[in-house]
């Protein structure tokens, strides 16, 4: 995970209210756009944040509308550059391993949020906050991480020859 110790460039505090989702999407989309993500990517990043907030509202706060939550944004330098988004709440803590995407072949209403978040973002990590509540850290890179950094099979084959 990238360095979370520096202060976020932008941090939003809000209540657990669905009617605020549209404003958050507008904020997220514009931040992503500024960082160079294309229109489809901006839409998908906004969607991932929307899904994560819906989960905090419905599961974390059990649809109560007076829960507090925070969304923080960091522009990531490096190659490839990217965007880190952290969502924190004061809701009940659960075992991060229980937050799982479901089998998509089982077609039923609901159960898509975590799948969407994992599909859209490059790195997704749930954890308990030391104080209280949960923290979700999501990273999206501007381009796929360079293949050169992964074990490169074609080169290995050449070496073996």
């Amino acid at each position: 995970m990238a360095d979370t110790s520096t202060e976020p460039e932008v941090k939003l505090q809000m209540f657990s209210q669905p009617r605020l989702l549209a404003a958050v999407r507008a904020l997220v989309g514009t931040i992503a756009q500024r960082l160079g993500f294309n229109e489809m990517q901006c839409g998908q990043i906004s969607l991932a944040v929307d899904e994560a907030l819906c989960n905090v509202i419905t599961h974390g706060y059990d649809r109560r509308d007076d829960g507090r939550l925070w969304i923080s944004f960091w522009a990531l330098d490096g190659d490839p550059s990217g965007l880190k988004i952290v969502i924190e709440d004061q809701a009940a803590q659960i075992d991060p391993s229980e937050i799982q995407p479901r089998d998509l072949d089982d077609i039923r209403p609901g159960g898509l949020g975590v799948h969407i978040i994992r599909e859209v973002m490059d790195d997704v990590q749930y954890e308990r906050r030391p104080e209280q509540g949960m923290r979700l850290t999501m990273i999206k890179h501007l381009r796929p991480v360079d293949d050169a950094r992964r074990p490169d099979t074609s080169r290995q084959e050449r070496v073996e020859q």
Partner: protein, 115 residues
Amino acid sequence: MSKAEELQIETDDITDGVVLRPIGEIDLSCAAMLRQRLSQIQDSQPARLVIDLSAVPYMDSSGVATLVEAMQIARRTGSKLILCALQDKVRSIFEIARLDMVFAIVDTVDDAAAL
């Protein structure tokens, strides 16, 4: 913010059913309203229910869940449920959820009436 839900929903009768046309973004703040309207219409068991999404620029999984539920009701009652005119961003969530092959999705309301 104290304003009422922003989603508007229009309906139109066609020969063998109904066209439902939501106007606005569909997220957790208005999915319940869409759900209620759909179940109202499905109570009258139309042979064909066309959902025209041309005026829906955005949908999250609470909207998708509502449509999956409507599709299951349609299957049970033997009626046709058809989605049409999805904008790119909305199509994208159906693809991510791998539901683009599960729903009947066509380009226009006319296509949906002919299906």
